[in-house]
Symmetry: C2
Subunit: 491 residues, 2 copies
């Protein structure tokens, strides 16, 4: 992989001086078009050997591009609020909005490579990290994020030479740290591990571009040219539509689905309810005071048909808790900061820290429910969402998040009764509008989509719990019981 | 202060049942109008004695209001990313956007009161915290945030009774913690300290409303009614304009100002520049590796006339640092999440954590420069900004932030030369547009506003450094020297 980057590529000063102004103008033009179209964003990963000149390249890009629309991140290690959240939290937080560019000098590659070089993880773990990177970048690419990965390479000899040169002068010796020399002793190991990492994570959507770094002019022109061409190549197209590429998912021939086979009329005696409710709330409260909770967090997802009783159920849960232990995130229209990024971004930004719970009142499943049914996204978009969501939840589970997902289902008749009751009661009238009536007409489509969603996204680390919700009291008790059991089991 | 809340206020069940539906509908109406007008937001502080029923009130508000537009925060103690940032960081982050409501059950009052009760701070510190709260709420109020502060009060006797009742039943005993009993021993001290805190922080904009909490029906109706009336009272008005209330600031009679009395032609020899630049960059780099830096952070502000060389100077600074040590925040048009909150919010959200630097390329001073000159805000708004900015920077300084502020000044002739050069060079053309030419026509107004800004916001904890910038090299060296000296002095 690195042989082609040891050929001694060079660009003369004259050649460079002739190309520079033309390239700068083209690059800037591409950036301004990117900004104006506001459809794509760009992620640049700058990896490679120490002393390969990452700092110089960074500086060049900030000078050649309009720096107001470029942000650089060095996120190798998690910091502050990153602790207690999944490893990819910090990368999600740093994704650029449409039109803008994020440069990562510490990325999702940094730690896996270092950990493998220093023997802290086996090769199988390195490969696992690379597969995760591939999935992440595939999602980014589908979500209109251009991913460009540069690897600055130096042969062992030229790297040693460069370190020596920098160390010699008083004015540049501060650029070489003890860690640089320590790493250099492991050059061969670094090379071997990086080669594997790059090979495993080079894909059609986001190939690695290895750049020989011994001649700064060659290095800079290569990177700037690639950046300009890559932005330009993605610009003219409209947002790619795959509407017809995805095969239709077959509906069950006998029309039997999970959600149409439920006994929705399960009830609970009011007296039993009054007894069980505070008991379960007490249990839930005590679970949040357990020492084990200090290293865990809870994500609770509430989905269901309109008027199925999500709000009332959520209040029965939060009443058991101290306000500092939970946050309810109602999913309404995204803000412009959210709209400009991949659809999962707004959920990542609200993930709970250790010891607390985020309750999502509707969630990322909107992608495979309302967006699917209303055609707000392409078929391919909601079809790939099943896999993206499972991957997202797996990352949550791996980082210690306890995930509980509820689907609240009423009968169509019960929904009608509740709609009518809402229209009659002054302080409930805001809960019912023309949109609810329109959705009701699509009852079967929602039931079909929800059934498929439950089937495709019930995993061992994040199963769905279906709540028969014609009786609100039954629903609330089953939800609290499930929460208490799941959290208890997790300890 | 608490006598009126020990009168034994009571509401009968019949009376409550008669009022409830009317009040709920009125409250919800007020909230929906708030949401629709999107001009004001509401901050509710819920303080008071343990067992006063904060949890119940919270639950009630979430049930009576549309909970999708209400967020509850319990921010007594700093968490995760709050560490290493000023104390008010977490409260700023939690401010609601226009149209929405934030409820604080742990607020800027919680820790000062606890610290005083437990003897960790003297009364003078409590008073200082209260003055800070008053300034904060005055700013919020001017920025269209309605601040409502409720204090739930119970006499010593009724508080004891309530704790006993809760403890007796299996179903509610979990609601009483050991800390509640510990605190109860200090009831008299709590009462005395709270009384002082409330008195010192009751203002016309945001008075404390003490609510007797022994009768839940009385408590709930009082709070809901007050909330409804307060939202309603602020709604019909347009955003208050004080344009004519503020006295004009006198210009110096002889027209001599700080910025018109500079020697702008200071230069530096190119050879000296080439020598000093890397030396200073090395020094800056080493300062960021000092152990002392682990508990400090740096905020650098770059302001100046158009084309004064801010971008080039910033790059000379960042080139000395590792990408994980700094962040450049260019101030362009605010996003909708930013526009919906007080103007300082977008700067708070970008404050650096320990060990790192945020460089603001233009800053909060836009309020007293472009917004003042272009009339984007009322006279009263930019006039109060001087005090608000000094208060903001004092909070930064107190929390260990090293603040360095640069004003880059060129002559009017030099600016013209640079504008013309930009128009001639392809890759610089994006840096010049009609707006720059328009601003140039207002040169004197900007010089006057900037002179006044420097005078009013140069403080011992955050002085301005004026940079004579006709010679770019001179400017860059003076900036690096100032940075190095200021950081070095701070250790």
């Amino acid at each position: 992989m690195f042989e082609a980057a040891e050929l001694g590529h060079e660009i003369s000063k004259e050649d460079y001086d002739a190309r520079e102004p033309i390239l700068r103008e083209a690059l800037l033009d591409a950036q301004l078009d990117l900004l104006e179209q506001k459809r794509q964003s760009v992620v640049v990963i700058l990896g490679g050997v120490d002393a390969g000149g990452k700092g110089d390249v960074l500086n060049l890009l900030h000078e050649w591009l309009d720096p107001r629309h470029v942000t650089t991140y060095a996120l190798a290690a998690p910091l502050g609020e990153d602790h207690g959240r999944p490893d990819f939290y910090r990368f999600w937080r740093a994704l650029p909005p449409a039109g803008k560019i994020s440069i990562f000098v510490g990325s999702w590659y940094t730690n896996p490579i270092l950990d493998r070089v220093f023997g802290r993880i086996p090769t199988s773990d390195l490969d696992r990290h690379m597969r995760r990177a591939v999935l992440f970048e595939r999602m980014l690419s589908s979500e209109n994020v251009v991913v460009l990965k540069f690897w600055l390479h130096l042969s062992k000899k030229s790297k040693k030479k460069r370190l020596d040169e920098l160390s010699k002068s008083d004015k540049t010796s501060w650029r070489v740290t003890d860690a640089d020399w320590e790493n250099h002793k492991r050059y061969d190991k670094f090379r071997k591990v990086s080669e594997r990492a790059l090979r495993e994570s080079s894909t059609a959507e986001a190939p690695w571009i290895v750049v020989e770094a011994s001649n700064p002019r060659y290095r800079d022109l290569t990177i700037a040219t690639t950046l300009e061409q890559s932005i330009r190549a993605r610009l003219p197209e409209a947002s790619p539509t795959h509407a017809n590429h995805a095969p239709a998912l077959p509906a069950p021939i006998d029309d039997r689905r999970i959600l149409s086979s439920l006994d929705l009329d399960k009830t609970i005696e009011p007296a039993v309810y009054s007894d069980k409710l505070p008991t379960l709330q007490g249990k839930l409260n005590l679970l949040f005071r357990e020492p084990g909770m200090k290293k865990r967090s809870v994500v609770a997802v509430f989905e269901g048909m309109d008027a199925a009783g999500k709000g009332g159920a959520i209040r029965r849960v939060t009443h058991a808790l101290d306000a500092r232990q939970y946050r309810v995130v109602p999913i309404a229209a995204p803000t412009d900061e959210e709209k400009a990024r991949p659809y999962l971004w707004r959920f990542w930004r609200n993930l709970p820290g250790h010891g607390s719970m985020t309750i999502y009142d509707r969630s990322w499943y909107g992608r495979v429910l309302v967006e699917r049914i209303e055609g707000f996204c392409d078929t391919n978009d909601w079809m790939r969402a099943f896999g993206e969501i499972n991957e997202f939840e797996e990352q949550l589970a791996e980082s210690g998040v306890i995930i509980v997902k509820f689907w609240l289902q009423t009968s169509k008749e019960e929904q009608l009764a509740r709609f009518e009751a809402r229209e009659k009661t002054g302080f409930k009238r805001h809960k019912i509008g023309p949109e609810d009536w329109r959705n009701r007409e699509k009852w079967e489509a929602y039931e079909h989509a929800a059934s498929e969603m439950i089937e495709r996204t019930s995993t061992e680390f994040s199963p769905w719990t279906i709540i028969e919700a014609n009786d609100k009291k039954h629903a609330r008790i089953k939800i609290l019981e499930t929460l208490v059991e799941t959290i208890d089991d997790a300890f």
